[in-house]
Symmetry: C2
Amino acid sequence: MDLRRLRYFCAVADELHFGRAAERLSVAQPGLSQQVKVLEAELGAPLFERSSRRVALTEVGRVLYPDARALLAAADALEERARAVAAGRAGRLRVHTTRSAPSGPAAELVDSFRARYPAVDLELVTGFTGWNLEELRAGRSDVVFVRPPVGPDAGVEVVYLGDEELVVALPAGHRLAAQRRLHPTDLEGEDVVSWPRRNAPGMHDRIETELWGGRPPRVVREEPDDEQVLRAVAAGIGLAVMIGTRVGSLRFPGVAVRRFAAPAPTVGLALAWRPSVAPPSAARFVGLTGVTGS
Amino acid sequence: MDLRRLRYFCAVADELHFGRAAERLSVAQPGLSQQVKVLEAELGAPLFERSSRRVALTEVGRVLYPDARALLAAADALEERARAVAAGRAGRLRVHTTRSAPSGPAAELVDSFRARYPAVDLELVTGFTGWNLEELRAGRSDVVFVRPPVGPDAGVEVVYLGDEELVVALPAGHRLAAQRRLHPTDLEGEDVVSWPRRNAPGMHDRIETELWGGRPPRVVREEPDDEQVLRAVAAGIGLAVMIGTRVGSLRFPGVAVRRFAAPAPTVGLALAWRPSVAPPSAARFVGLTGVTGS
DNA sequence: CCCGATGATAACCATCGGTTATCGATCCGG
DNA sequence: CCGGATCGATAACCGATGGTTATCATCGGG
């Protein structure tokens, strides 16, 4: 069975005229006649009654035609879909985000991707930088959001998205809450609520370096994620350093938020992916950063 | 799009091994590699991740595979069906029968055809010899039952099925009902109930010739079909000549049936069809006569 | 470190789909 | 009744392409 022959058959069936059908197919008439004849030989029965004056479908042809049309349509659809998937306009894309990302530039990226490629089935999972990278390496994710820096890794490409401002969350009555702007040095000696380093080692170290100059702060409590951290702050356990956009979406009673004086310390956001094994849609996703980031 | 390439793709996807897939397809491995590569070029993205040690589907390949399988299955089904129709094992067959046929050899033929070719959609229509031939010539029927003789007609082939015995239907009290066996000469001068000659001219003339020696009988009533004829007989209007098997299925109170003494006069039954334009199933139908008739 | 397995590549060949030229049949107008 | 026009079939030829064999490159394992 050959789709080309079926196409030829359908064209002749539509036109009931070999000359016109050949023209529509952009081939010469003899070739068309030959191929239809081959198809008839394959099936074992004529599909057309021909006279030099009239072409008509035989019963066999009449029965075959609708099925042939359907098959051709299915083939075209398959090809179209395959091309779309190959071009990254359709298919599945697994993205691992981080808890601190959805409210910042990451949300913007995901939203614009969804708007631009609605046919892509986007599977979003929330994790931490460290775990996300494991998932990426294990092939369970196509693109992951990370908090840089992340150690160099063979086959993994990191695309920097931008920086986000850090802020300080304070218990409502904290003495530093009296200041409108804070300096890193103000934090020295304060009780701090933090989170596990392995969630995002790069970010963790960067915060320590930028704010405490490499001398570790006094961590009086470690909570598993931002929300729990803020709850601890509200309870007066200590202060916490957080991402500005993130704390905005987690407004807690009993927590005062103070920005740093310019230049405010920041933490970065980046995408990591493996171009060699990523589906085409991943390239589209990463490609959008050039658009939204500019 | 080429079904062969899709087949190749599916084979490799099944085996995840070019060598084995090539063997299954009965081609050499390089050709398989080439064609898969062509397919990938057509779609614009690789379908497999290859290393010299491992072959795996890419995301694109994973998405494409089920659709490809379905399309191939549909193509195979189409081919199978087309072959079946071409071979007369499936499709549609329009058969025009006659009112007097279903109870005789015709029923046997139709039944055995149905049993043998259940996938053929048999459309049965009941008519008369004359009208059936018109339908056949007009292309509205594929095979028709007729009461021979029928005039020779270009492109129409007539296959004789056999003869059926004629009997006489008499009003219950008729004087001839006293005899167990009748002779044609007994009918001379009797009142006769008949039916329109144009329904089956050949049969009509043959009955007149065989029973009345060419001198037309005294037709006192003409009814449109057998059933009405018998009703008229029951009412005592006259006697009627009928087909033995037919009168058996139309047993009327008030009607006595008498056979002729051997050799009983008969009327024939035949099939007519147009081999040049008939669907393959028509040939199968006609072909069965050789089987059941022997 | 070499060997075996596996896919890719190179070079060649045959098949087949398509082309042009031409034929044969049918219908139509004069 | 004949000549021309229409249309599909046929013949002969050609080039693309799918398939072949031989060989290479890479990678994993003993």
